[in-house]
Symmetry: none
Subunit: 248 residues, 2 copies
DNA sequence: GAATTTCCCGCAAAAACATTCATAAACCAT
DNA sequence: ATGGTTTATGAATGTTTTTGCGGGAAATTC
């Protein structure tokens, strides 16, 4: 096998699987590891791949890392803008916390007249910046990680609410397990919020779709609308649409 | 699985779900805990995540309030330091909001173990920075200018509390009318707080001494201790001492 | 304050790597 | 063809990286 031929094979392999191991390649092509290493070095120099200890990674896969501050910030902004279109004057709105909800809070029209219920300290601080928004804070113990209220009192209060719409910043969603999260207290709160609202909207960056966490919040049939940064026609949503979730 | 690959997986997991446990990761990736720990250390060094005992956290979503520029800032810091001396481990503490209370929050010893009740959004955000402080937020409608909860629900909740000590940031005090303020809702809350606490402490800059506002919170006999930036021996305090108020 | 969990440090084994050298194949001009 | 040159490969050797483990320190929990 010619050198050029071999390198093309390696490239194809990388683009196909996003990674290769030196050991795999040397077995597949039947040359010494040193030869493979030399090939990888050359390919890395011309810039098509990223050489790492043990093999190499595809460059396209490696992209997309950390901008500034909030992860996937632009996407969250886009999501927030879509979510805002669901809000009308006079509505009673229930929201969780999380960075995506925070973006929603920032994206609200300045003169929106509505009532917001929340247990999130950062979100509440954003809401009160708007002159015509009434903010009702749901009290109880504050969870340090998520900066939202959790506990029985909070849940009792939430159950007394009958909101028009509920915006959930969610942590993981898939068609099999539905909405899942990793903090027991937070799960209880989200559960209650879903029950206390006529319409439930989940906000999430697409990356979280088809992932799952340890604790279940609820099945997909409790969810009315899901908003991501993607186009609603993407085929990743097909399974969700089939389960009756509207995609925005 | 390659090291680089693994670290990208970890980073993704953190950005998606805001936190990871070392134990979860080592199970998911099937490597030893030490390896995960080493990865987390490296990622933390390059600044992408925050390493904590047991796992790691996302870097976004960590805010603190800027207090530079607050009127009479140094004096308020001094007042806060005096107030801290009244606090003991295990106490149940009730606080209002306001910039002086915010200074108190910042001046708390890092490892104080106590339970704080408050209806102030900024104060609550400070309290939760402390690992051993439990924060109970008193919910209800949020007043926009004072950023604290007001309303009947809040007052009902406050009345159910029996705190060891209550710190009031006050607006005006004189010997004739006692404690006064200018916002009806806030007055109701402060009244309730004074009644729900064994000991009541008022924090104020000396400038507000011997001034009055339109609405009465309560007489001086409800007040146990007053803290200002001045020396307690100043003669301005004589009249207050006579009425049974201790000066610190 | 005792028990449990998590962390940190140093060690050792294994894997991966770089460097050098020798061989062999390919190329090329005569 | 042939000798010289370049290029590619594999092997030998020593170095670096990575990883898991043991034991003791530190933190956390009850």
């Amino acid at each position: 096998m010619l050198k050029k031929e071999r390198q093309e094979f390696i490239l194809r392999e990388i683009n196909l699987h996003n990674k290769v191991l030196t050991s795999d390649l040397c077995e597949a092509i039947n040359v010494s590891e040193d030869t493979i290493r030399r090939d990888l070095t050359e390919l890395a120099e011309t810039g098509d791949i990223i050489k790492v200890h043990g093999g190499a990674l595809s460059k396209s896969f490696h992209v997309s890392f950390q901008t500034n501050g909030v992860y996937s910030h632009d996407n969250k902004k886009l999501i927030a803008q879509k979510a805002v279109t669901l809000i009308r004057d006079g509505m009673f709105i229930l929201t969780t916390g999380g960075t995506t909800i925070l973006e929603l809070a920032k994206a609200l029209p300045q003169h929106l007249r509505a009532t917001f219920f929340t247990g999130s300290l950062p979100a509440a601080l954003e809401y009160i910046q708007h002159p015509n928004i009434e903010v009702i804070f749901i009290g109880d113990r504050i969870s340090k990680n998520s900066k939202i209220t959790v506990g029985g009192d909070a849940i009792t209060k939430i159950k007394q609410i009958n909101a028009d719409i509920c915006f959930l910043g969610i942590n993981a969603i898939d068609t099999e397990h539905g909405l899942t999260d990793n903090d027991w207290d937070v799960v209880q709160v989200k559960k209650a919020m879903m029950q206390s609202s006529k319409k439930v909207v989940a906000l999430t960056i697409a990356e979280k779709i088809n992932t799952q966490q340890k604790l279940k919040i609820g099945d997909l049939d409790l969810l009315d609308i899901m908003i991501t940064e993607l186009n609603p026609d993407e085929k990743i949503f097909d399974a969700y649409k089939q389960k009756g979730v509207e995609i925005l």
